[in-house]
Symmetry: C2
Subunit: 352 residues, 2 copies
Amino acid sequence: MSNLWSPRVHELKPYVPGEQPKMARLVKLNTNEHPMPPSPKVVAAITQAATDSLQLYPDPESTELRQTLADYYQLSIDEVFVGNGSDEVLAHAFQAFFQQDKPLLFPDISYSFYPVYCGLYQVTPKQVPLDENLAIHLQDYEQANGGIIFPNPNAPTGQLLPLEAIEKLLQKNTQSVVLVDEAYIDFGGESAAKLVPKYPNLLVVQTLSKSRSLAGLRVGFALGQQHLIDALVRVKDSFNSYPLDRLAQAGAKAAFEDEAYFQVGRTAIIKERERLTQALIELGFNVLPSAANFVFASHKTQAAEALALGLREQGIIVRHFKQPEKIANYLRITVGTSEQTDALLAGLQSLL
Amino acid sequence: MSNLWSPRVHELKPYVPGEQPKMARLVKLNTNEHPMPPSPKVVAAITQAATDSLQLYPDPESTELRQTLADYYQLSIDEVFVGNGSDEVLAHAFQAFFQQDKPLLFPDISYSFYPVYCGLYQVTPKQVPLDENLAIHLQDYEQANGGIIFPNPNAPTGQLLPLEAIEKLLQKNTQSVVLVDEAYIDFGGESAAKLVPKYPNLLVVQTLSKSRSLAGLRVGFALGQQHLIDALVRVKDSFNSYPLDRLAQAGAKAAFEDEAYFQVGRTAIIKERERLTQALIELGFNVLPSAANFVFASHKTQAAEALALGLREQGIIVRHFKQPEKIANYLRITVGTSEQTDALLAGLQSLL
């Protein structure tokens, strides 16, 4: 604390990311990274970009990458915004759309960065409770609001909303931005990107950190009609005109151009998720139905915190949230390789 | 414009970066990039990082890079903050320190992103005029303020303040943060980094975009006592916990480890700047004394705007600011290679 700080900075409650331990040989199932490396074409594109004019500023508009994303999602380039990870895209969206008189609605159990952004940008949050099965009911969001944001599938529950439910909300909620945060959509859901041409208040945010195996590169993007993208660009160009470096632009573009690699990777995760889910059920866990690259599981008799600590002693890291209380007995376990699943299951067996 | 935007977004006046033309074969002297590529060791470090765990999140604290910078400037790691370009570092600093009741002081002719940040973060600006020689007089900043920021050397004038003048200001101005923006310091000035242990309200910001030939990588940093760095970290962790990707962390670290390459590059620029300055004077220009990798020059008889347009027709791009009026007859010309200087001088000769 310091009297030199802006007064509001004292009140910030920063986000706490999942641990990135520096020890080698861990079974790291705590931050939902993809276990496969990125496509070799991504590595080749980055290597090429590293030897090509790194002394010059990058394209501030990331034109080539945005065109690639536009083509992929059948939108126009003016309907695509890119940022330094989807966290930066979300932060800009909070500033661009959610500083309103009415509160921003989001699930009480959700991405824990949302309340942090509210603190940073003086957005009034109004948390909407999940139901008793830890599911989002979008009818609960049909109330006065200055914006709505939710992940689909939700994190950390992994539960998916069908596109029809989102479309119903969009038909009723037309006067504020509805932001669908699709960090995990590629592992089992249908993207709301196809609804963008129809709904002027829909913004879809995705990341390359999960299904594209590029958490280490920091690229995320938003899809929405041009008048929404324009607001994000205004904020970006008032913050940092060049958020994506040359390597990130080149690598991200190459990732979206290698569809075959992407399909292999996500299919492997979906298959492994089913195996992990079954095995956890057999070990006495309740496992929420997941459309993500993680499962959210609660053991019938053993406390989650003790299990997380016990696994940790064996070099296996999963994520346990002490708060809020209604999820305090759950573990969020990333779907890794078969070998990682085997190690996790063996670790759990020794504890149970 | 859209009624879905946050009201304040309508009022933003975003920064306009220097043009990044996509045509090849231009003599590009408009955005103060270094004409040399980065050190081969930087490229090697990036290539290595690209093949090493890009599917995993980067270290959110950029520990290795910050330690390298701390060692270089003889500070502790807790006195170093890194960001996605110095623009991001500056943006966070505006939010962390300058949201105060009293106005932020900065030169009326200076980095044009400062008033943009003021708009983004509702900081009240108070611009302090340069003197008749376009120089900063730090005595003019001895007045009530909620913070002081200036580049040293100043941009776009290139003029340097000696460290003694900055220290005098720090002795008198103790109740608000003094931010010295040293984007160009390596081309002829003495960094205020050595004053950090002595002055608790001093923050020094630098970039790797200029003297380290890494504009395309987007890395900047701040040096200051820990209580200031803590505020920046609070803002960062409320915005984007992982602002620097794995490649940027690795490349930036390697750049600071190759001191010999750095010295060769900056020495070449300083030498070329002297040649360019002399030649411009011989062509009838007034050239401000520059400690940066650019010169700021006004021709005695020819209008700057016409010269800029005439050069452009020959494929030579320099920067001309139409506003404010007192610099409207100046050109800001990046110091490039000898060949680029030759092309520029030939181009000017044909116009004069």
